[in-house]
């Protein structure tokens, strides 16, 4: 009925106050990590169960969202290892960087669905940092701490991730323009 499942009343109350309101944020990032609703629910659930078990280690007044995201990241890494899906790429940043020669403009004539599709098509490493920095508004240093990678890597992945996103959308935008020109020429 009430909170009698829990060992300590204060801790349960604090978890409800500090962690539970961040459920939507954790789920959102989990969804963009896994690109699958049921995997996102599993990831979120595992993250919160872990967080609850180790809530005594959370320092009150610090950034609870960053703390939860760190747990989410570890949980996700574990999931990927389990699925043997962890692709080891020597230096994905450099490989993709060489394919980007120009700085595309920020796209304008696009729909929200175009944006979501393009984000979903980004390779995972880039998608992850773009979501963390540009959607969730974490500082570069926080992203580096959460993902356990050097800040330089965060910056280069972000740079390329944003660029890839714009290229994808710019080409989509151009395709739409081309199509609409064809239609008006016909008319």
């Amino acid at each position: 009925m009430f909170g009698f499942f829990r060992p300590k009343r204060d801790e349960t109350d604090n978890f409800e106050l500090e962690a539970m309101p961040l459920l939507k944020d954790v789920y959102r990032v989990a969804l963009w990590l896994s690109r699958d609703v049921s995997e996102a629910e599993d990831l979120t659930q595992e993250t919160f169960v872990q967080a609850f078990k180790s809530f005594h280690r959370y320092e009150k007044g610090t950034n609870c969202k960053a703390w939860l995201m760190t747990i989410l990241h570890h949980t996700n890494a574990k999931r990927l290892r389990k699925l043997s899906r962890l692709r080891i790429v020597e230096d994905p940043d450099e490989q993709i960087a060489s394919t980007i020669a120009f700085e595309p403009p920020a796209p304008q004539n696009i729909t929200d669905d175009d944006i979501l599709l393009a984000l979903g098509n980004l390779p995972e490493q880039f998608r992850h940092v773009v979501v963390m920095a540009d959607v969730e508004d974490f500082a570069y240093k926080e992203v580096a701490d959460i993902l356990g990678i050097p800040i330089g890597t965060v910056m280069s992945r972000l740079h390329r991730g944003r660029k890839l996103l714009r290229i994808e959308l710019a080409s989509h935008e151009a395709a739409v323009r081309f199509k609409s020109r064809k239609i008006s020429a016909k008319g």
Partner: protein
């Protein structure tokens, strides 16, 4: 700074990640470069659209939070204690309420110290005191909710209005739901007064008669008041002072304060 350099760092500028000097250089460049001003405006707008689009498209489904709470309980609780504590607590609530351990009659709620002492001793001896202490919790983490059924009324509109007007301080409705424990159905309403939480529970009564008397079960950390009406037992459980807890029970019973 030229336009190419601006392009390289514009995103970091929007993220607030540049050093103060670099910020100044960038702003000086923007002052005399209309193209880069336009480009920055587009980048900023795009980032807002990206945030909004992702946030709008990535909400968990409606029942997820409730499922998650019960998963946390399920997985974070040692097996042995899962059923024991609620069983003891519910038993405690019912026994305490139904046996009528401590009786107040009418509007004059005087208490005798010996009756209270008897009650407390009984609670301690049966281990119910500790269980009731845990039961207070946040009043919110009910593991047996009927998510789909519309909640039955715990107090009617008239009683709720009387509660709001008679209670010293403000009362705010936190939640209302139905719950089930061992085949017994409860309606549960949670109110907040400042930092204090008040749970009002209603369940079918064991006794056929309407006693219309309020039984108060004061424990170390929470107050329980119970009365029976229309074949139902109504419990008021809170961490308020005893007099305030009784006042709530009284208003629900009579529809008015004294």
């Amino acid at each position: 700074m030229d336009c190419r350099e601006f392009d390289e760092i514009a995103d970091s500028y929007l993220s607030g990640e540049l050093l103060v000097e670099t910020n100044h250089e960038l702003i000086r460049h923007l002052e005399h470069c209309a193209d880069c001003r336009k480009s920055l405006a587009h980048k900023r707008e795009f980032r807002t659209r990206l945030q909004n689009a992702v946030k709008a498209a990535s909400a968990p489904d409606a029942g997820f939070a409730a499922r998650l709470r019960s998963q946390i309980r399920e997985q974070a609780t040692p097996r042995g204690s899962r059923l024991l504590i609620p069983a003891v607590t519910f038993g405690g609530l019912l026994i305490a309420g139904l046996l009528g351990l401590y009786v107040f009659l009418g509007p004059q709620f005087t208490s005798t110290q010996s009756a209270r002492a008897d009650l407390e001793e009984a609670l301690h001896q049966t281990g119910l005191m500790a269980a009731l202490h845990d039961a207070l919790g946040t009043h919110k983490d009910c593991g047996f909710k009927f998510a789909k059924n519309p909640p039955i009324q715990v107090v009617n509109d008239h009683e709720y209005a009387a509660l709001k007007s008679e209670f010293p301080g403000t009362l705010e409705l936190v939640e209302k739901h139905d719950c089930l424990f061992k085949g017994r159905k409860y309606s549960h309403m949670i109110l907040r007064s400042g930092e204090k939480l008040i749970s009002i529970l209603k369940t079918a009564s064991e006794s056929a008669s309407d006693s219309q008397t309020i039984v108060s079960v004061p424990t170390e950390n929470l107050q329980i008041a119970e009365f029976q009406r229309n074949g139902k037992s109504v419990f008021v459980i809170s961490d308020l002072a005893e007099t305030e807890n009784l006042q709530i029970a009284r208003v629900i019973l009579t529809g008015k304060s004294v």
